[in-house]
Symmetry: C2
Subunit: 160 residues, 2 copies
Amino acid sequence: MKLDTIDYAILEALQKDGRLANANLAEKVGLSASACSRRLDALEKNGVIRGYYARVSNKELGHDMTAIVNISLSGQFQKTLSEFETAVKRCPNIVVCYLMSGEYDYTLRVVAKDLADYERIHRDWLTALPHVAKINSSFALREVIDRPNVGIDAGLAKKC
Amino acid sequence: MKLDTIDYAILEALQKDGRLANANLAEKVGLSASACSRRLDALEKNGVIRGYYARVSNKELGHDMTAIVNISLSGQFQKTLSEFETAVKRCPNIVVCYLMSGEYDYTLRVVAKDLADYERIHRDWLTALPHVAKINSSFALREVIDRPNVGIDAGLAKKC
DNA sequence: AAACGCACGCAATGTCCTTGCGAAATTGGG
DNA sequence: CCCAATTTCGCAAGGACATTGCGTGCGTTT
């Protein structure tokens, strides 16, 4: 899909406030409400906007702890990978998982309530994942940045 | 803030669809629209819901590449850390940053358009960060999971 | 130059959000 | 155990909002 300046303005505004009312959004990007609504519709239908989400405080839910877990598998066969991935997707505490280049095969981000909860997850989920050869956990001491998306202006920003 | 079953239902629904209209949300959790609106208001005011955001397709924006970057600093002084973090926050391509325990001090997630773009970011931003002693980049080959939040049911789920 | 397509603004209609109010439920103290 | 205080609920009304059809203007194509 081809995007123009106004589309980028819409995306940027909705990245910051996903519940922004169409009327306010229209004003912000300099369009009438109807035109803005139609553009928004197109952005959603074409998959540019993949959805809207509420950002729930993990702390308020009692999930204070974040761990980065690196995992190596015992093989690289397609079947090995897909079995592992299927199992990973079942664990609600695993919020991010990438297949990686480099020393480890997968990098996970695991969220837990506390150390005891993490111990439970490690025991019941992580070590139960199939074909795992090596696990390496590091704990996050503090969250410095957690943006939902890359900035729309990422290509245009000045260097530091 | 104290949360009950209905609050959790509200959070869960809005984690999946942040633009869910209050009327539909009310029906889904079994409340009247007014009661639901008031609860939602309380959840927002108390910081349980930290905000709403649209999820924009990085692919549609041309940001196909994700890298995990581990960084060690030359010292652990408070001033060193805060100068580093201030600089990190300025880079729009860095979407996640944690202060970590373990071998490296920080773990970043960096989003780039392609390898050339990553090379630019590495040169103009990452190596320009203050007090950096060591950088280690790994590239994501594929995104297996990227959930916006830990599941509300994380504590209740059955093991695999 | 004319015709076509596309995006826009305006206006109307139907839906939705919010707030005030009284009733019901829950909680805590006597 | 009961009563009072506080909270939370549902209902109703008023105001705001989203959506759709329609006519207009602009740019492109033939």
